[in-house]
């Protein structure tokens, strides 16, 4: 039994395909734990990047450079009093944040972090992903309705309308990417893993195929996913000046933190869809152009070296921190964190580990790029008015994305015909 358990490590399929239940459980725990850690990190990262863009320092006190701030926040939220409005619909009020978090986490079932690093491979992967993540609207509307408050109701109506209307543009952009997969031998596919594989077969990330069609599709998807996850500049449901906190007005403490968790998780989920569809998923840069054993080894060293470099950066900032007694603990913490990162880097340099984990590294760094984009856009752009938001959704993004579908189809057909004629 242990033999068959370990046998999986030598295979190159997802645990879902291999049908090994223990590994599925391990992967689920790994993915959900990793996503939660990602949310914690993202909380810190967003505050830090936003602060620096606004020429501030951001959290500095809890832990070195505020590294423990999200943990302190989470502790504070957990020990807060659990309030529920008296006239609220108790059951729905309780279920709304659960629904948001559940849908957000569920969509990670099909996300391929690597060829073998997905919980399972569905043949309708993208469809499942979009379907489940749009179920989150239900949670938002339930929250607004159950709170029995005007602010909440208005906020949830707004975000419901927003999420639904941007869904269409988003799906059309996805369709154009899915159509590109049919260019490869073997025909089109909706499976997340096969989409990445067809990018490998066609020797191009879909962002750059049919230039500039793929790029525009990615841009449309990026804008739509910002609106879909209710983030700035489309964060109308949370417009503080008008609606207090939108559908989250009556929520506090742990329930509120569930909404927070759901929001960041769904951000990561849609970012990973964008990564899979347009940025070649887990593929390292130039998998075909710079192929061969030497290049493979060189690229597989990058994850470990990146972590080592980050650790070195921590040590550098440790030497620069003041040695006063009241910052002693913080600077020691910085050095400890640097040592931890360097250790991780060393582990990642081990040959068996690096061959198995480098896919995940590339995938996560591409998702991180999108997460940075979220924060960047949030700091830069002012919030849109509701009618402007709807205008962008229906009058700009939707026509563009439908046009993209048509153009992709035309170019694809033309290429197929050419191929026939030339043969």
């Amino acid at each position: 039994m242990i033999q068959s358990f370990l046998q999986y490590l030598h295979s190159n399929v997802t645990p879902g395909e291999a049908g090994s239940l223990p590994w599925i459980v391990i992967y689920v725990l790994f993915v959900f734990g990793g996503v939660s850690v990602g949310v914690i990190f993202m909380n810190w990262f967003e505050r830090k990047v936003m602060a620096h863009m606004q020429v501030r320092l951001g959290p500095m006190r809890v832990g070195p450079h505020g590294l423990l701030q999200p943990i302190a926040d989470a502790l504070k939220l957990i020990i807060k009093e659990d309030l529920m409005p008296e006239n609220a619909d108790k059951l729905v009020f309780w279920f709304a944040p659960v629904c948001v978090v559940m849908t957000a986490f569920c969509s990670f079932i099909v996300v391929p972090f690597g060829r073998s690093h997905a919980i399972t491979d569905m043949n309708i992967g993208v469809l499942f992903m979009l379907g489940v993540s749009s179920l989150g609207v239900l949670g938002v509307i339930m929250a607004g309705w159950a709170s029995n408050s005007h602010y909440s109701l208005m906020g949830s109506l707004r975000s419901g309308a927003q999420m639904v209307s941007y869904e269409t543009a988003m799906c059309m952009a996805v369709v154009s990417a899915v159509m590109m997969t049919s260019m490869a031998a073997g025909g089109g596919t909706l499976s997340m893993i096969q989409i990445v594989q067809s990018q490998q077969q066609q020797h191009v990330w879909f962002a750059f195929s049919f230039f500039p069609v793929g790029l525009i599709a990615m841009l449309v998807f990026t804008v739509a996913m910002v609106a879909e996850t209710n983030r700035a500049p489309f964060d109308l449901p949370e417009a503080e000046s008008e609606l207090v906190a939108g559908f989250m007005t009556e929520y506090s403490g742990f329930r509120w933190s569930l909404f927070f968790l759901g929001e960041y998780t769904s951000m990561m989920a849609v970012s990973s869809v964008a990564t899979t569809l347009w940025l070649g998923g887990w593929l390292r840069p130039f998998p075909n152009l710079l192929s061969g054993a030497t290049w493979n080894t060189a690229f597989s060293l990058i994850p470990g070296l990146t972590f080592m470099a980050l650790g070195g950066l921590c040590f550098y900032s440790y030497t620069r921190m003041s040695k006063l007694s009241n910052t002693r603990v913080q600077s020691l913490g910085m050095a400890g964190f640097g040592a931890f990162l360097a250790f991780l880097g060393l582990v990642l340099l081990l040959p068996p580990v690096r061959s198995r984990v480098q896919d995940v590294f590339w995938f996560i760094s591409k998702v991180a790029f999108f997460m940075y984009l979220y924060v960047w856009a949030r700091t830069t752009f002012p919030r849109y008015r509701f009618d402007q938001l709807m205008r962008i959704g229906w009058k700009v993004l939707l026509p563009i994305s439908i046009g993209l579908v048509v153009v992709t189809a035309l170019i694809g057909v033309r290429q197929e015909l050419f191929a026939l004629v030339w043969r």
């Binding site: 990047v49 620096h52 863009m53 606004q54 020429v55 501030r56 320092l57 500095m60 003041s322 006063l324 009241n326 910052t327 960047w376 856009a377 700091t379 830069t380 752009f381």
Partner: protein
């Protein structure tokens, strides 16, 4: 709408400009935040803060008890108490009251002082627990308010 403007709109030039500005400002050298208790602001020498009565090298006050500061003060918050020394026939300072709660730190008293005794120092941490704490007497003005040092 001219062609250039249309192209600008299509290629989102304004948005990209905004993004580039925020991106450039991430550089740590732009930071203006001051970590206050650890890192104190440097104030100018002529900053008008906490008042002080200066003494000469022998520890004797420089004040001649002329009362020019009390006259110059627009708020009438300085009270100079003095007696005339029968031997030297000079005024000698007995007490000096300065109600910092009403002070607006205009610096007219400092300018009026003929012996450069009254001075508004760069001390800026003037927070107090009581209103009465702002009424400074001669002792406090000459030696400064004893600071309570807290352990962490």
């Amino acid at each position: 709408m001219s062609a250039v403007e249309l192209l600008k709109k299509i290629f989102l030039v304004d948005l990209i400009k905004g993004l580039s500005i925020t991106f450039r400002h991430q550089h740590p050298k732009d930071l203006v935040t001051e970590q206050y208790p650890l890192q104190r602001p440097e104030v100018a020498d002529r900053f008008r803060g906490h008042p002080q009565l200066k003494k000469d090298e022998n520890g004797k006050t420089l004040c001649t008890a002329c009362g020019a500061c009390a006259l110059a003060c627009p708020e009438k918050l300085i009270k100079v108490g003095s007696i005339r020394d029968p031997e030297t026939k000079k005024k000698v300072l007995t007490d000096f009251d300065f109600d910092m709660g009403r002070c607006m730190f205009c610096g007219l008293c400092e300018e009026a002082c003929p012996s450069d005794c009254l001075d508004l120092t760069p001390g800026y941490e003037l927070a107090l627990y009581t209103r009465e704490g702002a009424e400074l007497n001669r002792e406090q003005l000459e030696n400064g308010i004893p600071k309570k040092v807290y352990e962490r």
